[in-house]
Amino acid sequence: MSERTLFAAQRLSALLLGPLVLVHLALILYAVQDGLTASEILSRTRGSAGWAFFYGLFVLAAAVHAPIGLRNVLAEWTPLPPRAAGILAALFAALLLVLGARAVLAVVVPA
């Protein structure tokens, strides 16, 4: 993947992450303030296409955004050659994707 594509992917995923993070934080505050229990939260998220889409998009954007930044950090701050930094970053992307998808499925798939 070209540097230009990676640059665009990181900026565009940041554009998505901005509002998603704000909504996610607001949601945490709401849930804590209102004293929602885990079962009450799950009852709202399970079977909800809206929350599945919201957190699915969140995981995708994070899995694109963070590894590109990590690749740059590895390339600049470690003696790793660029290719090795790219491979490590791709593995990190896969890890984020798997863990994120697992978490989203756990809260949106009906029991």
């Binding site: 540097e3 230009r4 665009a8 565009l12 740059n72 390339a75």
Partner: protein, 275 residues
Amino acid sequence: MHAPAPKTLAPKTLAPKTLAPKTLKVRIWRGREEGSFCSYEVPARDNQTVLDVVTEVQRRHEPALAYRFACRVGVCGSCAMTVNGVPRWTCRTHVAKVAEAGAITIEPLRNMPRIKDLACDMRGFFDKWQKAGGRFSGTATRAEPPAKVDPANPRRRAADAAIECINCAVCYSACDVVSWNEAYLGPAALNRAWTVVNDERHALRRTTLDLATGEGGCGNCHTQGSCMRHCPVGISPTESIAGLKRMSLLSFLVRDRDAAEAPAGARAEAEEAPA
């Protein structure tokens, strides 16, 4: 009548000057990558520039001292060195402005191989200027009338804001990203690329944009602003690089009609341009 007695004035006795002439302590890098600082003492003078000091050391103390200069008046940019840790044009830097406790330390510019003493090898710096697509390629022949460029056009104004760079490499020396990433093209090369992608007479705008946003291109900039802070002519390469990033992202989403693809031959010519 008596003539008035001549006034006898006691000879003016001035207090003997006991003050020793002021001196300036100078530490100068001697050697290549391996080397050490040598200390010299030179008379401190009014309106003395750092270049004056280096010249004085070479003429009176160390004839083998290597350094570069040409115009001595801030036009050529060849006398740039690191003075007390800061990259500067030495001809435009007064000692009084930078001396710390009556001492200055002078080294070659950072981020370039040292050749000898205060002179560094700038070939890599100039090569990157070409790698960023900075070579102008016209769209018209000599037979055609000059292009009519509206100076109020936003693109022309963006180019004008960055055009006065004289490649002194002060920004390149100040940039931390250059020190971390050897492939990074650096502020001067990208600033130049920004001027030509905004020049409506440039035939290879798309090629320049591709080169300036590719490997080692504008995406590597961390927007630390050291180039802008230290540029002796007050250019902001940081702003130029931000412009390239913006243009790169927009052209990724919407193909820029103005920056039409150049003929394949012209593109190859730009990419193989000699250093």
